[in-house]
């Protein structure tokens, strides 16, 4: 039997040669037979061919059949090979359940983190807005000399009438309100929208109808549409809307229900026409947001140029009562996601690093495991298994691990996602995040990458393996210097990745600390806040509101636990940042750099500054004198005095708030006091000039007010008493309670969210690095057992031997740390926008990360070092 016969069919003669040789053999034999019978050669050949038939046709037929046969055979062979590989890989994994469990867990952490973060990124940043042709939707604001502001109503009307780039343009706003419904008073989110709004979003109501053009006019019958969830949960899904009325600013007839899921803007419950409220026509009243739908094919750049031109024309026409200089046009999607983009991409990047760390960790354990299998692999190569086959086997093992890791990772992702949703700031709106098809696709890609990463090193190692050497050494050590270098390299990479993540999270934690250390200008301890919105329809008259607030103050001041009580139209960090420009008497053109954003505008009652712990620096607080009709007064903050009065005493001077801030009389307000600065917009923004006017003198805007209570004890404990009191004073108001501490920490949830998750990633990476260090140190320690035995026998102290082991580990850690810090230097620059008063090279964050890693390295090498140092030297030497 020729060895040929042992080969599979696919490795035999090439098809053409196989066929040609067989047919030629036949013809030659036949010819010879005929010659043997006495025929001459020429005739014999002709006779043989005649008897055979068409050689070309037969050959072609044979080739076709054999090609087909071989193809089928190869396919079957491949499938069978794969099956064998999988069975073998599965058996090997089952033989070492500890390794398999650790490996799958490691991968699941990496893959799970990625899948969870990706689903958030996908939902929040990547998915197109759930409206028709969302790329045509844009947000429009007005550019000013010093920044930007909302487009004033009158300007929006002009732009809408003259621009040729829009299918529609609308102003809108939203806010909390108390609504009186058939179900009693409710605290709701109300959107105020102009004509065109629903057309822009291509909304068709699921029930009833939308407001028609005539209902978007001042003086029209008030109508409202509600969200599907509000209709279902609060109204009880009535099919007939005619009896449904909602009273907020007006007594609205409900005429329609929007389709499920439509919640723009700000998760509104109800939408009412803006025109009905008689919006200010002042061209510096930057009150309403503007959204537009572009004509197909119009780009953001084109429309910006057009709006710039139109705004310039309006400016020329309406100077000096005009402050816009142009337009800023942003796709609606990027405008809505602007705040979450950096933190989410940061977390996605971090989860990528975590996955790399997990893969590196696994690659090194697979390498270690590969060493144990050296002999097996060598035997298989020696008996003739193709090298490709061995590499394929290793990759099959990696694939199987990655598959298991993906499955476990998706399970983990579902849990992580729930955790993310509970930690996320409400603005991120993660409620709709799901592990959908895209996430599965992403996970599959991640899984493939993982397979390559963890299969690569063992495969590289194997392809370079020398079977003879491994067999001669009895498969005992089989650890070449090159392999040792790869392994060290992997551990160094793990340390570097952990260092990078640690530095990043260190910077975020430091920033968070810096933010929380900031002096906001008020005292948040023992402070209870109660937000109240009056149902406008009931409290339409100014006097009625003034009475109400007076009664509220009197009632709560009578509660024993209340030390001081005050009211404000806008709490610091509460999101209401109303501001306007102002002028100073005797300064002709107003302050230099005069423009919108000149000063914050708040209405407060007496007692507010005391309750908030905002110091009165000069003059007096508001008191009984400051009522409707008395001489208009104002209290300003230190920043305003510093900026516009050059720190001179402003008491007695008069200022004037410009842009239609419901001025009375000639509009001049006498400064009667100066208070300390407060960080109003954000803890991270330095105090800006502020003006405070007496709430009782300015009742026009006192619909939404926050009650601030300085309590004697724990503010949360006082809530029931306050609740009871307020229920008696205003049964038709739905108050929202929160301690100032809660509000402060709520204002930092986004920062906390990012910092928490990044830190969790960093800790997992740290743990993985620890495990990696432990693995390599243990191995090295075992390798050096004999050497250590000799050292101990020669009188080395156990402590010295331990030190040697530690030093070996430390070398790798320091190298990894070096690499990691360099990566971190580069990578943390990308997070600059997320940091507050911390440089991207903050020494404390970097040093802390380094110290943590060195500590972990020491702990990880402690056990191997301890074990080797207490060996009996004689035994170790003999054992070799």
């Amino acid at each position: 039997m020729r060895p040929d016969e042992e080969l599979p069919l696919s490795r035999r003669l090439p098809v053409d040669e196989d066929v040609d040789r067989e047919l030629a053999y036949h013809l030659a034999e036949r010819e010879r037979e005929l010659v043997g019978q006495g025929m001459d050669r020429e005739r014999a050949r002709a006779e043989a061919q005649a008897a055979f038939g068409d050689v070309g046709k037969v050959g072609a037929e044979c080739r076709e059949i054999t090609r087909r046969t071989r193809r089928a055979f190869r396919r079957a062979e491949t499938v069978e090979g794969l099956r064998q590989d999988l069975v073998l890989a599965w058996r090997l994994l089952r033989k070492t359940p500890g390794f398999t469990f650790a490996a799958v867990l490691t991968l699941a952490l990496g893959i799970g983190a990625n899948a969870a973060i990706f689903s958030v990124v996908n939902q929040v940043l990547l998915k197109p807005l759930p409206y028709e042709a969302p790329e045509q939707l844009v947000d429009i604001v007005e550019a000013h000399k010093n920044g930007w502001g909302n487009v004033p109503w009158a300007n929006m009307l002009d732009l809408r009438a003259t621009s040729r780039s829009f299918q529609g343009m609308a102003s809108y706003g939203s806010g909390a309100a108390t609504a009186l419904t058939s179900a009693g008073p409710l605290r709701i989110r109300q959107a105020v929208v102009s004509e065109d709004f629903f057309r822009i979003f291509h909304v068709t109501p699921m029930l009833g109808r939308l407001p028609v053009a005539e209902e978007h006019r001042e003086g029209a019958t008030p109508v409202a549409v509600v969200s599907e969830s509000f209709w279902r949960a609060q109204l009880g899904s009535p099919a007939d809307l005619t009896t449904q009325r909602i009273r907020t600013m007006r007594d609205y007839q409900v005429i329609g229900v929007l389709p499920r899921g439509f919640a723009f803007p700000a998760n509104a419950d109800i939408w009412v026409p803006l025109e009905l409220l008689g919006p200010s026509l002042n061209r510096t009243a930057h009150n309403w947001s503007v959204v537009g739908r572009l004509e197909p094919g119009i780009t953001v750049e084109t429309v910006k140029r057009e709006l710039d031109t139109l705004t310039a024309r309006l400016a020329a026409q309406y100077q000096p009562d005009f402050d816009g200089t142009g337009a800023i046009v942003t796709p609606l999607q990027s405008q809505l996601t602007a705040a979450s983009r950096s933190p989410l991409y940061l977390l996605l990047g971090a989860s990528g690093l975590l996955l790399l760390a997990a893969c590196t960790n696994l690659a090194s354990s697979m390498l270690a495991r590969g060493l144990a299998r050296n002999r097996e692999v060598a035997v298989r190569i020696a008996i003739g298994a193709g090298r490709l086959r061995i590499v394929r086997q290793l990759f099959t093992e990696a694939t199987l691990l990655a598959l298991l890791g993906c499955a476990a990772g998706l399970g983990l992702a579902a849990v992580l996602l729930r955790l993310l949703v509970s930690l996320a700031p409400p603005a991120l709106d993660l409620a709709k995040v799901r592990l959908d098809g895209w996430v599965l696709l992403f996970t599959a890609l991640v899984g493939m990458t993982t397979t390559v990463l963890i299969g690569l090193f063992p495969a590289l190692r194997t392809s370079g393996a020398e079977p003879g050497l491994a067999l001669r050494e009895g498969g005992r050590t089989g650890h070449s210097p090159a392999e040792r270098r790869i392994w060290s390299g992997l551990v160094i990479a793990e340390v570097a990745l952990a260092a990078t993540l640690l530095c990043g999270s260190g910077l975020l934690i430091r920033s968070l600390g810096r933010v929380l250390e900031v002096d906001p200008g008020f005292r948040s301890d023992r402070l209870l806040t109660v937000a109240m919105s009056l149902p406008t329809a009931v409290y339409e008259e100014d006097a009625k509101r003034e009475q109400f607030w007076t009664r509220v103050l009197e009632a709560v001041r009578a509660i024993p636990g209340v030390e001081v009580a005050g009211l404000t139209s806008a709490l610091p960090l509460g999101g209401d940042n109303s501001s306007g420009s102002f002028g100073i008497e005797g300064v002709p053109s107003g302050p230099a750099g005069y423009g919108p954003g000149g000063a914050g505008y708040r209405m407060v009652s007496d007692g507010y500054f005391t309750a908030m712990g905002i110091p009165l620096l000069a003059g007096r607080d508001f008191d009984q004198r400051d009522v409707a009709g008395s001489a208009p007064v104002v209290i300003v903050n230190q920043a305003l005095v510093h900026q516009w009065f050059k720190d001179k005493d402003p008491i007695g001077h008069r200022i004037r708030l410009e842009s239609g801030m419901d001025n009375q009389g000639d509009g001049w307000l006498t400064v009667v006091g100066v208070v300390g600065d407060v960080r109003h917009r954000a803890l991270t923004q330095p105090p800006a000039p502020e003006t405070y006017v007496p709430l009782r003198q300015r009742p026009t805007r006192s619909y939404s007010v926050v009650l601030t209570l300085k309590t004697r004890g724990d503010p949360a404990q006082l809530e029931p008493a306050v609740r009871q009191t307020l229920a008696a004073v205003g049964p038709d108001v739905v108050p929202l309670y929160a301690t100032m501490r809660e509000r402060l920490s709520a204002s930092q949830t986004d920062r906390q969210f990012t910092a928490t998750i990044l830190s969790a990633f960093a800790l997992v990476a740290l743990l993985l690095a620890g495990v990696g260090i432990y693995g390599v140190v243990s191995y090295t320690a075992v390798q050096r057992t004999r050497e250590m035995g000799i050292r101990l026998a020669l009188g080395a102290l156990p402590a010295q031997v331990r030190g040697l082991i530690h030093r070996g580990a430390l070398g790798q850690v320091l190298l990894g740390l070096g690499v990691g810090l360099v990566i971190a230097f580069a990578a943390t620059r990308l997070m600059r926008s997320l940091l507050y008063e911390v440089t991207t090279l903050d020494p404390l964050a970097f040093a802390g990360s380094a110290a943590l890693l060195i500590l972990v390295a020491f702990l990880a090498s402690w056990y191997p070092a301890w074990r080797i140092a207490r060996l009996d030297p004689m035994q170790t030497i003999r054992s070799e």
């Binding site: 067989e22 053999y25 046969t69």
Partner: protein
């Protein structure tokens, strides 16, 4: 008087090949020679038709092949039955025997009385 050779019934070649290989492995030319000798030129077989038939049998897994050196020292492609092929041969033989017997009966039996 020399008779005209009969054309081969469809599928018959397969049975002939299987039967031939049933005696032992053989290369294509040997099979061809054997058929020629045993049928005594009664059957009209184009010799070339044998080779696609062999390869089809191989495709079905009834025969397998390998290149071997013959007694004359030349390389020839030798076919042999697989165990599957042997089973196939048995079942083909049985059905042929039944077929031939049935044909023989119908052709040789004289009716006892008129059929109509």
């Amino acid at each position: 008087m020399p008779q005209t050779p009969m054309p081969l019934l469809k599928g018959t070649l397969d049975v002939i090949i299987l039967r031939t290989l049933g005696w032992g492995p053989a290369h294509g030319y040997a099979i061809s020679r054997w058929i020629r000798q045993t049928t005594g030129d009664e059957l009209q077989i184009e010799e070339g038709a044998l080779y696609p038939a062999l390869r089809r049998l191989e495709e079905r897994g009834w025969v397998e092949s390998s290149w071997k050196t013959t007694e004359t020292g030349r390389e020839a492609k030798v076919y042999r039955l697989t165990s599957l092929g042997r089973q196939q041969l048995q079942s083909e033989l049985k059905s042929w025997t039944r077929y031939v017997a049935a044909m023989a009966r119908v052709l040789e039996t004289r009716p006892a009385e008129a059929l109509a």
